[in-house]
């Protein structure tokens, strides 16, 4: 009880919000009334649905990926930027800022020419944004018009446009933070993050959606979502994209040349995901899909869950957490090749499904076997047998085991001092005997 309540205030490139949870630029931030409801529910910030020349959207826009009976583990959309008149958006931005002066309101923008950038920035600043987010991400539709990911995939273009935006942001509101939202549809995220930095961006947000086709209607031979018998590629997001997003955030966070703040996005569905993004270097996290599926109220669990985590790990501020896991995200060549674990089964917990045996035999290194019958021809207890001398410690059996804590990966002392591949290449260190490779 005596523990001090942690401070959830977050600061992303000078954009301050009462907590690190922002709504990502998407349908949940389409309008002022929505954003005000979200702030009331507890969200610390919101990135307004991307403004630009209002578009006409298609009807039938989204698709969900179901897996083994679980609905919507991934999500995709072929929606574009705002389709509402700019005047309505600006009027509502003013209203939101008046009602919620202490929440972060970031306006996402996407236009083409320098003149257009100047224009829209002037008007946005006038409406009262706390920051701008330049949308270089949209992987469908807008890129066919030379915007969105068409910009985000070209570091040079990214840098030039960011430079323009920064220039006009300074002109109309000196010091106004500008974030660049990066597309994941690139081979390496780092040059793109560096380009934004070189264009004087104050921070980056990532990831936007990943180019995708969520599935097909196999009776009518057309991808979904279908629009009058046809479809287009969309942008993939939701829980399934988190691993990709976490990697991209981490890749930037650990690059020594990259040193501006990150707002993490992609598959955040609960407080734990948010903690992961923060530990990986994000100063704030943004959420779209989970809110589309479950509503603004998910933030209640995110807030108290994060608070609880901070208390139990002795963090007082978000800043103390940001990037805490980055030093441990290393190159493969710097991993200790002499570190060794093997699988151990808790026979009391084992239910005898033998899923691990199948996995090890067909998908790993053939060192797990079904129990042998005794002299009476009867198997006394269905517990797999592990040949420890062959187990490479790959984790597969543990991953497929349905019983929590039944298979554990236990470190063995093989007597070898740590040695990495890079050390080995440099002629240093002694590598241990290679298991399972005969």
């Amino acid at each position: 009880m005596a523990t001090k309540k942690p401070d959830l205030t977050s600061n992303t490139a000078g954009i301050i919000s009462p907590n690190p949870f922002w709504l990502a630029s998407a349908p949940p931030t389409n309008s002022g009334p929505q954003i005000m409801r979200a702030f009331e529910a507890g969200w610390g910030g919101a990135v307004w649905k991307t403004l630009g020349q209002p578009v006409q959207n298609v009807s039938s826009r989204f698709g969900g990926l179901n897996y083994n009976g679980k609905r919507n583990i991934g999500f995709n959309n072929i929606e574009l930027i705002t389709d509402r008149p700019l005047e309505s958006n600006f009027r509502e931005i003013r209203e939101v800022k008046r009602e919620f002066p202490n929440h972060a309101l970031i306006i996402s923008l996407m236009v083409e020419t320098e003149k257009e950038w100047e224009d829209i920035i002037a008007r946005t600043v006038d409406a009262g944004a706390d920051g701008l987010e330049l949308n270089y991400g949209c992987p469908h539709g807008m890129c066919e018009r030379g915007m969105g990911s068409a910009v985000g995939q070209e570091p040079e273009v990214n840098k030039r446009l960011t430079g323009w935006a920064k220039k006009y942001a300074e002109k109309y509101s000196p010091g106004l933070p500008v974030l660049v939202k990066l597309t994941p549809n690139v081979g390496d995220i780092v040059p793109n993050g560096l380009a934004a930095q070189a264009g004087n961006a104050d921070g980056v947000s990532l990831i936007n959606t990943i180019k995708s086709i969520i599935g097909l209607d196999i009776d009518n031979f057309v991808p979904v979502p279908t629009v009058g018998g046809k479809s287009s590629n969309g942008g993939y997001c939701g829980a399934a994209v988190k691993p990709i997003a976490l990697h991209m955030v981490g890749a930037l966070a650990r690059d020594p040349r990259f040193n501006i703040p990150i707002s993490g996005i992609g598959g955040v569905a609960n407080w734990r995901d948010a903690v992961e993004f923060i530990l990986m270097g994000s100063s704030s996290v943004q959420v779209c899909t989970e809110v589309m599926l479950k509503g603004y109220r998910i933030v209640e669990d995110m807030i108290c869950g994060l608070e609880e985590y901070m208390i139990s790990h002795d963090f007082q501020t978000i800043d103390e957490m940001v990037g805490k896991a980055v030093p441990q995200f290393s190159n493969w060549g710097d991993l200790d090749l002499n570190y060794e674990v093997i699988a151990k089964i808790d026979a009391d917990k084992c239910i005898g499904c033998y899923d691990c045996v199948v996995a090890c035999n067909d998908g790993a290194h053939q060192c797990m076997f079904v129990a042998e019958p005794g002299a009476d021809g009867v198997v006394a207890k269905r517990v797999p047998i592990i040949d420890e001398s062959e187990c490479v410690g790959c984790n597969l059996c543990q991953i497929v085991c349905p019983v929590p804590d039944c298979i554990s990966m236990v470190q063995v002392d093989n007597g070898h001092a740590p040695s990495t591949w890079n050390q080995h290449l440099a002629g240093e260190g002694q590598l241990r005997y290679k298991k399972g490779s005969h």
Binding site: G295, R297, C304, G305, P404
Partner: protein
């Protein structure tokens, strides 16, 4: 404070609904659709934010899940086990609409609240001393919920109970395959953990022959009064033979084996008279205690019984039989009960003239409990109706400063109703004592 006998017959019972482990809880929690204006929450008398607490289990935020539950219902642990969820929250789950198993809300609630008790997670603190004092009569769920709420407001609280065990029917009445007395007492300790709730056991309040504290003295001691004294003794029947050994009131019998030990090794044929929930509990309890043949004698039909169908089904699975449309005419035997002479009734519940006799060496009467309204009926301003204390929607009686809730006002519902009413009354009491002068009684 309360010591339970170590040798209690109830300890032979196992949980009818076993507890979830963490893995199972998370899987079940993730099935929840997280509805808004959720039918489950609407069905809960204490209005627990069920979708929110389940979401918190799903995200492994269990401590805050328990907080969500306990902030609406401080007796959330016992309710999780004893509530008839099949006709409350679980019965309202939208999965029922698509013929899929509804979310096991009770088991999830138990998972979170068991952990809260086990780990000693505490969420509420007593308010700053208000200088006001409230006396609560009865230490059952209604009074405990009210007392906890009143402490949060900083009022001094004294709870009186005529028994020497705290917790009311939760401790000595509900079936042990749902909640054992020691678990009920652990929850009471958790509730009392807020501090400053003075529990005085062995004090019967009233103006009766054996009372220890008169209504007038109670009123003089406190700025407000809450009546949560529940129901009275088992009702009897107007037939011969009730004084034979082997004939008992069902609730009385249940109290005996829950708080102490009973020897039933001699019992061969037990008969429970009645068709309500106490009757259905009693037959299952007798079975569990090892009586070979247990049957129900009820004047109504199987479809018309007031006991919950889901409970009765379980009793049948356990081997209990029933004689419907039957009514005892006499308990027969010399000193000890040997058999029961019964009349068959027609659809109009009138005797058909047909009679029969069944062997029985143990009979429990579960035809209702007396109402206790009479013990305060004489007090100015207090109105009773059918033995119930009459209150308005805030729990206020007609006598200024006197409030009531739970079984003594609703005539006998569930633990969760008693909690809801106790909590509501606490809000009204708080409003009352903070607007009246603290000195000089209610």
């Amino acid at each position: 404070m309360t010591r339970l006998s170590q040798a209690r017959s109830e300890s032979v019972f196992k949980d009818f609904k076993p507890a979830y482990d963490a893995n199972h809880a998370v899987v079940e929690a993730n099935r929840c659709l997280y509805c808004i204006e959720a039918p489950c929450q609407i069905a809960c008398p204490t209005k627990i934010d069920i979708p929110q607490f389940i979401r918190r289990i799903a995200t492994d935020n269990v401590k805050n899940s328990a907080k969500t539950i306990l902030s609406s219902n401080i007796l959330g642990m016992s309710c999780a086990r004893v509530c008839p969820v099949e006709v409350l929250c679980v019965g309202a789950c939208v999965y029922n609409e698509m013929n899929q198993p509804p979310i096991q809300i009770g088991k999830l609630q138990r998972y979170a609240t068991d952990l809260a008790l086990e780990k000693g997670w505490r969420f509420f603190e007593a308010g700053e001393d208000s200088g006001r004092s409230v006396g609560l009569v009865g230490a059952g769920p209604a009074s405990l919920a009210a007392a906890h709420e009143l402490r949060r407001h900083g009022h001094a609280v004294t709870v009186y109970d005529k028994r020497d065990v705290v917790g009311g029917l939760n401790t000595w009445g509900v079936a042990p395959y749902k909640l054992r007395a020691e678990d009920a007492l652990a929850e009471v300790d958790y509730v009392l953990g807020i501090g400053g709730i003075d529990v005085q056991l062995g004090i019967e309040v009233g103006d009766g022959e054996f009372s220890d504290l008169s209504w007038a003295d109670l009123e003089a001691k406190h700025d407000a009064v809450f009546l949560g004294f529940g129901l009275g003794e088992d009702s009897g029947l107007d037939v011969p033979g009730l004084d034979l050994a082997g004939v008992h009131g069902a609730v009385d019998f249940i109290e005996c084996f829950k708080t102490g030990s009973v020897d039933l090794s001699w019992a061969r044929h037990a008969v429970v008279i009645g068709g309500g929930n106490t009757a259905v509990d009693a037959v299952r309890e007798l079975k569990g205690l090892g009586v070979a043949e247990v049957s129900l004698v009820y004047r109504g039909t199987e479809a018309g019984m007031s006991g919950y169908q889901h409970e009765w089904k379980a009793a049948k699975v356990e081997g209990v039989r029933a004689s419907w449309r039957s009514q005892p005419l006499a308990f027969l035997g010399s000193e000890r009960l040997l058999s029961i002479h019964c009349a068959r009734l027609g659809d109009d519940k009138q005797p058909t003239g047909d009679t029969y006799t069944i062997a029985a060496d143990l009979a429990l009467l579960a035809i209702g409990q007396g109402k206790l309204g009479k013990i305060i009926a004489g007090l100015d301003g207090i109105e009773t109706k059918w033995g119930r204390v009459v209150v308005d929607e805030t729990g206020a009686t007609g006598r200024p400063g006197w409030f009531a809730g739970g079984d003594c006002t609703n005539g006998g519902k569930e633990v969760v109703n008693a909690v809801a009413e106790g909590k509501a009354a606490a809000a009204a009491i708080h409003a009352y004592v903070t607007r009246t002068n603290a000195t000089g009684g209610a």
